[in-house]
Amino acid sequence: MNDNPAASDTTVTAVGLRGITKRFGDVVAVDNIDLDIGDGEFFALLGPSGCGKTTTLRMIAGLEFPTQGSLKIFDHEVGTLPPNKRPVNTVFQNYALFPHLDINDNVGFGLRMQRVKKAEIKTRVGEALEMVKLSNMGERKPDQLSGGQQQRIALARALVNRPKVLLLDEPLGALDLKLRVEMQSELKTLQRELGISFVFVTHDQEEALTMSDRIGIMDQGQLLQVDPPEAIYERPVNRFVADFIGQTNLLEGNVESSDVVCLLNGARIPLDTGLAVGSSVSVILRPERATIGSRREIEPGQSAVDGVIRSITYLGNAIVYRVGLDWMEIDVREENLPHETRHEPGEEVTVSWDHGAVAVVEGQG
């Protein structure tokens, strides 16, 4: 986490969580989380459903109160404040637009509650609608808009209040793929322009990787890793993170010496794990980092295992080979290039990779 820019001393912390725990009866939804989100940062909370990411977001919003711990927004303790007393706004998963109010009144709701003058509300609502490119929709009711338009209105309704932090709870989940990709880049652009922190909850790892400055991976109420996307992908801290982000082959083995890992089939690969001799480990081999060749076609500086092609998945731009090793199956992804030799099921091959292309985490599955 040392290469993370937002946690350094020079940046202001927008949201600070210390020992935040939330219990619902016997269930621990969020378990003792420490997290600093920098001012102006695009931060994604990523995890499978039920991991506690939404509860964490709701605690920042004030829609849930932590059972334990301290929650600060710009150095003000807000853990017990109701949502209307916090300088944050939320874009809800189902948008939660008020069905009985037109778009102008929906967007202007927050300002009205803050007793902003009528004339100013009008200007700011106009600006907000312009920002989301829906200026001519002010007179309509929410149910007269498409899902994508409702999503933009929800965004405008939150941003018109100029929150210090914008919270987004899976805001793109209900949109179709094309619209989602479009909104992803728009959100990112908007966030850069506004310069405020966006805290974004998602279960879509691709979304998190493409949009965020940093990602926090959660599972079972715990925050497992907080890092920029690249670090999350390249250096996951454990098997869960490695498996959750992208496609992964986890080759299990044991640390034989300071720079050799012995895989379960007995193959020795040179790898400096920094772990004690005898530790059980999993070597993370991403499908695109491995190459397939004919048997014993290894170059220096590479590790290799022998296997047999079991099946082939054609993806258009790439081909994924499932290779059966002695003790497990792994996927290898090759770009679909014209000069590349295709392999056939049943073919005996060697899967090889550069020494530096793999990462290693402690433990086995």
């Binding site: 209307n84 944050v88 008020f98 803050q114």
Partner: protein, 307 residues
């Protein structure tokens, strides 16, 4: 849960699916569907005509008739005398008193039922069902019996009187006062307020409440700007269902009200049975029915549309 069905007439959309091919087919399908619909509704139409429309016409006819000196009614010499009587101070007082008590009853029911219905609507389905059964339990006992029970509760040396005496308020005399009537009416009609309110509150997405709080509204503002407007159909339906029977109530005022608090229901009964002045009783009944009918139609055209 018939209440829900009354306040929420869902349009049946299945005819539209059949009609797709040609305009002629579409029209034929529509005709067939409406014929089927009429057949299904026929028993209800029959019932309404026989027991509502025809009696109402009879009441109207009698309201223009003349009372003869023997207490009978002559169905000749049509006149408006009975309606003139309605402007007399005595009748006017009774009318205003009835309106006033019905209004108070409705408002109290609303104040009690709204928070309760909201609480109910925000519980888990199991708890909701259990509590709804509790709301219905009073219906298992006869209405008359329940009113007599209040007589015991509110009477001299009754529990209420003893309780107020115990806390030093003296032994209050509530029975045979307008207060007793209002207590009885609120008790009797509260479920009619709770059910439609619950039905409309239950349909509101609670995420809207959270969104409102997130947008700087406090609890009261959220109620005022979000919950209340969205539950208005329930408020109106409940109010009508409480106000109308309260206005015409007969049993409760008879049992719990004193001689001084004659209400419309009792007055009408007196006109028919004691004073034997059918035209006056009929004119009052007819006026009341027509006013209520228009009020209800107005509701369905205004508030009912958003259901």
């Amino acid at each position: 849960m018939t209440i829900t069905e009354i306040v929420a007439p869902e349009p049946s959309g299945d005819e539209n699916e059949v009609a797709a091919a040609t305009p002629e087919f579409e029209r034929a399908a529509k005709r067939a569907a409406s014929r089927r619909g009429f057949l299904i509704a026929l028993p209800a139409y029959f019932y309404l005509v026989l027991f509502f429309a025809i009696p109402l016409v009879i009441v109207m006819v009698y309201s223009f008739a003349t009372r003869n000196r023997f207490g009978g009614t002559d169905l000749s010499g049509w006149n408006l005398d009975a309606y003139r009587k309605l402007s007399e101070p005595l009748v006017r007082d009774i009318l205003f008193r009835s309106l006033w008590l019905a209004l108070i009853t409705t408002v109290i029911c609303l104040i009690i039922a709204y928070p309760f219905s909201y609480y109910l609507a925000t519980r888990t389905p199991t708890i909701r069902n259990v509590m709804l059964v509790f709301v219905m339990i009073p219906f298992w006992t006869n209405f008359l019996v329940r009113n007599y029970a209040w007589r015991v509760l509110l009477g001299t040396n009754g529990p209420v009187s003893k309780a107020t005496d115990f806390v030093g308020l003296g032994d209050t005399r509530i029975l045979f006062t307008p207060t007793a009537v209002v207590i009885g009416l609120v008790y009797g009609f509260l479920p009619f307020m709770i059910l439609p309110l619950y039905a409309s509150l239950e349909r509101i997405d609670l995420g809207l409440v959270e969104a409102s709080r997130d947008l700087y509204a406090n609890g009261f503002q959220t109620f005022r700007r979000i919950l209340l407007p969205l539950s208005m159909p329930g408020v109106i339906a409940g109010s009508i269902l409480v106000f109308i029977p309260s206005l015409g109530a007969y049993v409760t005022p008879e049992i719990l009200g004193g001689a001084k608090t004659t209400l419309l229901g009792s007055y009408i009964v007196t006109q028919f049975l004691t004073a034997r002045n059918w035209p006056v009783g009929a004119s009052l009944s007819f006026t009341l029915t027509v006013v209520m009918l228009f009020a209800t139609i107005l509701y369905f055209r205004k508030g009912g549309r958003t259901l």
